[in-house]
Point group: none
Chain length 365, copies 2
């Protein structure tokens, strides 16, 4: 770890664990690492370098709200996914249904008309708004008015949402991405957190201004998306020998966002610390797991923000949300793989979200 005080990281992580603690890990059946653990670069396909393993389960527990019969609809979270086009319908569905399966009360999808019928038919639990348009269905002279209408439709809802997920199955149609850029600007003005994944990362990598300096933005890049971000922001290649330092530089280069770098270990940084979540997940790499992660992180961020209104936490809600989402996905993927082996698909993992959350954070506690 070059140019970065490792002692400071350890102290901060220990402080984080103490602040969030209160559970006796040894009394549970969950196996997680010590609060701070060094890993060799050889073991970390996702990041390289040394990084502090965070006590992710304690963090997940600390931000997950207790269930209380006096609460009413909406208080456990209202999430919206912006994504779904002519080609992609699975990704936004995975993100939106994962949010509900974890415990959000309402989950919306904003997508194109073609995608809407299909996404609605996957599940009656989602509220699907068929409002986005792609270039092929819009005449040049209508673009301005249609764009204004799209923004107006989303704006009606914006302040009701606790978090947006931008990108699952968004596609790369230029007109559609222009509209989504506007939606992101409005979300920023309304102080609504955004988790940005998939084609949303393609969009922001080419338009960093959209998120630069916005401390409620979370980017969740996979290997290739991370590579493009590093090339764009740091103007160099990914350096796996010093992954921690490069991640910190990248976050600082963009300015104030949080990045969850997906890999064999997930690395999470807001520019101040780097945390790793490395608990065993599944060796299957079927498409769609990133969508579960983005939907889950959105819910956990909402919950962490509710906590920070009541008490001081030792890390920001975006970092805590990423850590909790990462450890939950890994647990659910591990259960799904135990049951389905090579046949494990994203829907199988989603089916294990509830049971996994119950194991990590039982309702009765």
């Amino acid at each position: 770890m070059v140019g970065f005080s490792h002692g400071a990281v350890i102290r901060r992580q220990l402080f984080l664990t103490r602040c969030l603690g209160g559970y006796n890990s040894s009394s549970t059946n969950i196996c997680y690492s010590s609060a701070v653990k060094m890993q060799s670069s050889a073991s970390g396909g996702g990041g390289g370098g040394a990084w502090p393993e965070v006590d992710a389960v304690t963090i997940l527990r600390s931000i997950t709200p207790s269930l209380d019969t006096s609460r009413h609809k909406g208080q456990a979270g209202k999430i919206a996914v912006v994504g779904g086009c002519r080609e992609y319908t699975g990704a936004p569905y995975f993100a939106a249904i994962s949010a509900l399966k974890i415990g959000a009360d309402l989950s919306h999808v904003f997508c194109t008309k073609d995608a809407a019928t299909v996404i609605k038919s996957y599940s009656p639990e989602l509220i699907v708004h068929p409002i986005l348009e792609e270039s092929y269905s819009v005449r040049e002279e209508d673009k301005k008015s249609i764009s204004a209408k799209v923004i107006e439709e989303v704006d009606k809802w914006m302040e009701r949402f606790d978090c947006l997920v931008i990108g699952p199955g968004l596609g790369r149609d230029p007109f559609l991405l222009d509209c989504v850029s506007e939606i992101m600007k409005h979300a920023k003005r309304s102080n609504v957190p955004m988790v940005i994944d998939g084609d949303g990362l393609f969009l922001v990598t080419n338009s960093l201004d959209l998120i630069s300096g916005y401390h409620l933005a979370v980017l969740t890049p996979n290997v290739n998306e991370y590579k493009r971000l590093v090339q764009k922001v740091l103007e160099c290649e990914v350096n796996d020998r010093d992954g921690t330092q490069q991640l910190l530089s990248l976050v600082k280069g963009i300015g104030g966002v949080t990045i969850l770098r997906k890999g064999a270990s997930d690395l999470i940084s807001d520019g101040e610390t780097v945390s790793a979540v490395s608990s065993f997940g599944s060796p299957r790499r079927c498409g769609g797991q990133g969508d579960i992660l983005s939907g889950s992180v959105a819910v956990f961020i909402s919950w962490a923000r509710q906590c920070t209104e009541k008490r001081e936490l030792s890390a920001g809600p975006t970092v805590l949300g990423c850590i909790a989402g990462s450890v939950l996905l890994r647990k659910a993927a591990s259960h799904a793989f135990d049951s389905k082996r090579r046949s494990t698909l994203t829907t199988d993992i989603i089916e294990h979200l509830g049971e996994s959350l119950e194991e990590l954070c039982p309702v009765s506690e």
Copy 2:
């Protein structure tokens, strides 16, 4: 309970229980309160104030028809849900399928064309009429003729229905709501009971004449919908210290309808008494549970009306239907939550309706 004779309520409830009774509660595995029970305001997040806990299970049993091989299709209830638009398809589906899962013979949905394809795809059990229209698909000059056509289509069916559910996923399009207002006027003229929820409540709160004085109308507001009703009718804020009295005033202010105020305890009033159902349900507040309730209440009202044709009951069919619907939803939600915990969704609760009804009112009895 200020300004409300508690002794009279106790006598009326005891009379109600005697009239409807005949079951020995101690011989079942159902835990329910004594016929009349006072609760402190602290325990009732939904209402506040003291209220009489009703013997909901006995009421449910008393109105649920025995199954008899001599009966033919339709006799156990024909329900229609008016709802489902471009944005919402889950809500009308939940209401309509719940009606069937409880025991109705036929369940119809009247919705827009866009919604119809999706709702049909959720289940082949439903009869879905794609007849409603939203402003965006109608030219100004066609509105009158289209509206007339919509009413004509619904009128063909109106007298066959035992109860309508107005509102699940209806949306707030002005043209669509105008058509639904006409449907409600026709239902009223035909003496068809109506359960009004969701956007149907938005409609009637702004047009109280639609239901004022109609004793077969049931409103099922949640916290926010109740707040808007109180503001509109009583021109004041919700008073949780004296919730019972305010509910009676609200019912009287609207004139002769029945209100089921949803909350930690459900409070039900037709302006004469207030009954509470507080049995444990689920602490999950995922969207859609209100739709199960509206569909269930519609079926129980139909059944209660069949009973009143044969024998005198001590409360009107709307009150009895609300009580039975409330206790059944709570039982089903409780079972779903036992199994799915934080991951509990509305479809999970629907899957437990049959088993819950069998527990509360076994077919063999």
